[in-house]
Symmetry: C2
Subunit: 390 residues, 2 copies
């Protein structure tokens, strides 16, 4: 990655640090190392407000270069900073929402004279919420690969398949298109494998997480997604995989059917497409997240599907979420979120309805906020595709 | 899962709490919820020393039963405990190595009059290091499924395949055998997808982590494993996938070749098998981890492969590691680890040698410690299998 790209990102973080009177950040989590250094290493990126960033690296030891220094343990940091001619920080931010308590305490103890603040996660997430041009271009490539993987789904289906069997074939298609597989989520508890394939009434099963839809899963150790049930005639199946192709978590859902569905299911699907259309037309810089959410609620209520919007037994209270290096970034399109869209934000919009006895319908695409509207990144047919052919 | 099994596990934790004068644990991380409650939920398991455990659950809201209470936010805990007739804790342990700093602070603040200790991670990991009979049986089933997935690898190979292409097919075979996919590691930074497939000199690439071998990977956002190189004639390829079939991370590596390898590679492979044999004969309750490590080092040094044992440019300083709900549990077979093996421990033993110009050779199996020795769980052919046939 070009150093100029990294400097641009670091400067976005510095701007936010400056506003809060913070003179240095110590960055130690994978996602934020990818953001500020371009790759995962074992070590620390030290980001002073008024000097170039320094990488202190434990592994790989082979990593060398300007402003890269080997380190064995964080307790060496003050001495190493002194050797670099850098002053010790007075107000230092750490990634308090991501570092473990023990690791945070250990890093904070290295700087006994500094005021140590846990706001690193919040500030860096804020910086990350508006993408650079390079990030936007990477998202675009990710979205194309994601759509390409989905295009072969009709060929992957075989009569009598279970949801797990179909999921395995879709996972393979994603990997063949270059998906890295790893699914990154902010918040250590929200584990998921590569995404979810939900069919029939399994889409009604409540998740432990604030996901759009749940699913029972096949084992209590990872509840969510496909559960091993055969996808029956007259049922729908929704494919919602995480499209991590170049580190960026593109998000996209498409619905398939085994034979013809009930008319109600097609009506519900059309309602979701209408919501998408209405939100996409309204979405532009300056509009608040809560107002976009309200548009969706008004529309789905009028259509009579409010009871099964975003789930039935447990309904998710959002219709979209920012995406980036993690699947759940800012902004969140949800009630009471007054945050406004800004050019460069990227979000997934996912109005979904669960039709009892049939399964999930609806749509999810990834969208980029432009200077005067939004642009769909994940372009692919949006109707329900019959896996049995026409 | 039977309540008696869960009570047995909770009592193992209580024994350790008692020794440290701790009267309650608040458990909030997925792995420890699986251990103490049998499944992942969003919520908290409160484990008092002298009363039954209580589950306070946010999601799924549908979860009900004896000793299960709905909760919206952790600040309700003191009031809910009072409603259960439980006293507030005086010395409370939290999972300090796993909870984020912010979450830890929030939970600790709910109990202003308690002494809050971060030792929950350490104590529960200690309890988890000795498996119950149910866990051992689950490991056995996991190992069988793991071996079954590996048995089809020769059929998956096609001439001219890249390491990534082979990895994708092996991942699919693992999933078809029931692998849950998700790869759980203790320590939030050690990310890996399902495992690694390393061929040729890619096995020399240093990892950011303390893995047995590294690999460049295909993207800096997840450095490790296959890198997209074609597996050439005369090269070896090592398959080392995480075998999470029922929540338990079985571990197993096997080596394949494309055509015939150099004699040195076969000699190095035999050296690893000899190390495995020697360590397995010596391993039994009461023997220290460091002494098993030393056996391996002595043997590999005598054989002349010390320079390429467990890597070349960056050598891992262990030959094995405990496994369980996570891939890296206690005990660790490494220098200066005086911990002794105990019946019920399960560990992976992985002597590996990288032969420059050829690739990785060696072996990895999962072993259970019995009352008087060890038992191999992952039984499958251990020679280098030629993917081109004989």
């Amino acid at each position: 990655m070009l150093l100029s790209e990294l400097i641009q990102r670091r400067d976005k973080i510095r701007d936010l640090m400056f506003k809060e009177g913070i003179d240095a950040a110590l960055i130690a989590t994978n996602v934020n190392l990818i953001y500020t250094y371009g790759q995962v290493v074992s070590g620390y990126l030290y980001l002073p407000l008024h000097a170039p960033a320094r990488l202190f690296v434990k592994r790989p030891a082979s990593l060398t270069g300007e402003h890269i220094h080997p380190i064995r343990k964080p307790e060496q940091l003050p001495e190493l900073l002194a050797q670099c001619g850098l002053p010790l920080p007075t107000r230092l931010m750490l990634e308090g929402d991501e570092l473990s308590f023990s690791e945070y305490q250990r890093l904070a103890a290295c700087f006994p004279n500094a005021e140590v603040l846990p706001c690193g996660s919040r500030l860096i997430r804020q910086a990350r919420s508006v993408k650079t041009l390079w990030e936007m271009e990477t998202f675009r490539r990710s979205a194309q690969a994601h759509a390409a993987a989905y295009s072969v789904i009709p060929q992957l289906y075989q009569s009598g398949m279970s949801d797990v069997q179909l999921s395995i074939e879709v996972e393979r298609a994603m990997r063949q298109q270059g998906c890295l597989g790893i699914f990154r989520v902010f918040g250590q508890s929200m584990e998921i494998f590569m995404g979810s394939v939900l069919s029939g009434d399994n889409a009604q099963e409540a998740s432990p997480y604030d996901f759009a839809l749940g699913g029972k899963g096949v084992d209590g150790s990872i509840p969510g997604g496909a559960c091993g049930r055969t996808i029956a005639q007259g049922e729908s199946v929704m494919v919602d995989m995480g499209g991590n192709f170049f580190g960026y978590m593109c998000d996209m859902s498409r619905v398939f059917s085994v034979g013809k569905l009930s008319q109600q299911a097609y009506d519900a699907h059309q309602c979701c497409l209408d919501i998408q259309e209405e939100v996409a037309v309204a979405a532009k810089p300056g509009i608040s997240c809560e107002s976009l959410y309200q548009l969706a609620i008004d529309r789905v209520t009028k259509a009579g599907f409010a009871d099964c919007f975003m789930g039935t037994k447990q309904q998710a209270k959002f219709i979209g979420h920012g995406i980036g290096l993690e699947i759940n970034e800012a902004p969140v399109l949800a009630p009471r979120i007054k945050q406004e869209l800004e050019p460069g934000m990227v979000f997934a919009l996912e109005p979904k309805i669960v039709v009892p006895g049939v399964g999930p319908v609806g749509i999810e695409n990834s969208w980029a906020v432009t200077v005067d509207g939004v642009e769909k990144l994940t372009t692919a047919p949006e109707e329900i595709i019959d896996l049995l052919g026409d």
